[in-house]
């Protein structure tokens, strides 16, 4: 078992050689708390500090009140850093009449990887008809779905609800964002990724579960775990340190930090790149 990554991390090495992909990021700040300003330049600076190669973003404004502006900012960020920034277009199920239009305008952009949905923020079940309209389009056009998930009283995106979509769309890779978050959520997410080949769980926010990455990697199919930071919602260095410093084989770390993500993209490749 190799343990070089932790030794390098203790020295503050940059990990450019690992081609790290951050599967779940945002852009900008949110009204409910103060963070220092997080524009795309600031985010790239922080990615560089650790050596994160690619970040996959969904601007905050798009998962709150303005999905149109969010998609515009996504496009601008990808155009500014075409080798670094990838993204998910933002769908708001409360505006079903605009789903086609958003796909039309943005989905063919080369660096768009799929869609990001936030059933909690938009108060709409992941299983709802309007989301299914978007999932149908991803199935037809290629790409992936990243959904917020949290095991709580809000049933809109508990892992069981995500599972129904994972089952209904076996061709579409589905990332269970935050792996359900809580302890019960993470345990359920582990069950789901072990059961369905198109199911993936990401690491951001799983500290709420008190389940450490070593345990997750031991219980879940290790090829289905994706490193994600949720930054700038949180700081990028928090979640990546969890993996870099974990008491775990370097091969598993390397897979979680990027290899798994790259393989996932090959399952349902996008067929509409401009």
């Amino acid at each position: 078992m190799k343990r070089d990554i932790v030794k390098r991390a203790l020295k503050g090495d940059k990990f450019e050689d690992l081609n790290i992909v951050d599967a779940h990021c945002h852009l900008h700040n949110l009204y409910s708390f103060y963070n220092p300003y997080a524009g795309i330049d600031e985010m790239i600076q922080e990615a560089d500090r650790v050596g994160v190669r690619n970040i996959c973003i969904a601007p905050i404004e798009g998962i709150s009140c303005d999905f149109r502006l969010g998609n515009k900012h996504l496009k601008e960020a990808m155009e500014k850093y075409p080798q670094r920034v990838y993204g998910y277009i933002l769908i708001n199920p409360n505006f079903p009449e605009q789903i086609d239009e958003i796909f039309e305008e943005y989905y063919s952009l080369k660096n768009v990887l799929g869609i990001k949905i936030h059933p909690t923020a938009h108060k709409y079940s992941v299983c709802g008809e309007n989301y299914r309209k978007a999932f149908d389009k991803v199935k037809a056009l290629g790409g992936v779905v990243l959904s917020h998930s949290w095991q709580s009283a809000d049933s809109n995106c508990v892992v069981e609800a995500c599972e129904k979509i994972i089952q209904a769309y076996p061709e579409v890779p589905f990332i269970i964002g935050h792996s359900g978050g809580t302890c019960q959520g993470v345990l359920k997410a582990i069950d789901v990724v072990n059961k369905y080949e198109n199911a993936y769980m990401d690491t951001c926010g799983t500290f709420f579960s008190n389940m450490h990455i070593e345990e997750m990697a031991a219980k879940a199919h290790p090829a289905r775990i994706l490193y994600a930071s949720d930054y700038p919602f949180h700081d990028l260095r928090i979640e990546i340190s969890d993996i870099l410093f974990a008491d775990m084989d370097d091969g598993i770390k390397t897979d979680i930090l990027g290899e798994n993500f790259r393989k996932m993209l090959k399952i349902n490749p996008k067929r509409v790149n401009a």
Binding site: F33, N35, H212, H234, F245
Partner: protein, 260 residues
């Protein structure tokens, strides 16, 4: 880079097995991550009975060169802990490195009018008071005015806000701005560029390293500090120097003066 950890715990937990359960396991993890010393609380003083948990920690702790005991207290010094004299005796005998307060979970108010005896003693000893800010139940927010009044009244008491919850900089910054003896630990300082922002606005002196092991992986905080976008001299302050200074300032006085 060496580290001294202000936020560590050992002992059983009612919601399942924790990933570090013994002193040996904790020492091994500290070695793996370069953590030289840690302030250590016994979980039973948080979740069962403060007096019994404190005693168990004092009796069972072996690696005293690496693990520094933390004593849980409440403002009922006389009724629960046998009076100030006994508390001082315990602190001095066991070289307690900090007192920890759980106003939410232990159900007490934390304000000048009811915590004056406690804080007068702490102030006399320059003993750090660590406030648990991520309680089992509720939020720390309603206690902040009281913490502010205590920090103003007892300026020789370093008050460490431990695991101030996510996204709470709007609550924390006014305290850092007004009270030079208030510090934050790093345990849940997860805000984007949070460490860098605090260093820029208030100085690196106001942050102490805290991992919150075994609830969180220690590597989170270690990595956050190693990769922080700050000067190396500031990094060292956060990693160990600030806490070391606080610990060195403690006056282990068996007899003291109340200055309420």
């Amino acid at each position: 880079m060496k580290f001294i950890d202000s936020n560590c715990m050992l002992g059983p937990w009612h919601f399942g097995k924790l990933c570090i359960e013994s002193e040996n396991e904790l020492i091994m993890e500290m070695d793996r991550l370069g953590i030289e010393k840690a302030l250590l609380l016994d979980s039973r003083s948080w979740f069962w009975d403060p007096t019994e948990g404190n005693k168990l920690l004092a009796q069972q702790l072996k690696n005293r060169d690496r693990l520094i005991p933390v004593m849980a207290l409440t403002p009922l010094i006389d009724e629960e802990f046998g009076g100030e004299e006994k508390v001082r005796e315990f602190i001095c005998t066991h070289r307690v490195g900090a007192v920890k307060l759980f106003p939410n979970d232990h159900g007490f108010m934390l304000d000048h009018w009811n915590a004056d005896v406690l804080f007068s003693m702490l102030n006399d000893m320059k003993m750090p008071a660590i406030i648990e800010c991520s309680p089992l139940e509720g939020v720390i927010d309603t206690y902040l005015p009281g913490i502010y009044s205590l920090a103003c009244a007892y300026p020789d008491t370093p008050i460490i806000m431990a695991a101030m919850r996510l996204q709470s900089l709007r609550l924390l910054y006014p305290l850092l701005k007004k009270c030079p003896n208030i510090f934050t630990d790093t345990a849940m300082l997860f805000a984007f560029r949070g460490i860098e922002d605090i260093v820029e606005n208030f100085g690196a002196e106001r942050i102490v390293m805290g991992t919150r092991m075994p609830f969180l992986n220690g590597g989170r905080t270690v990595g956050r500090v190693i990769y922080a976008g700050i000067r190396d001299s500031d990094r060292e302050k956060i990693a160990y120097a600030n806490l070391q200074q606080i610990l060195e300032n403690i006056k282990y006085r068996r007899e003291g003066r109340r200055s309420i």
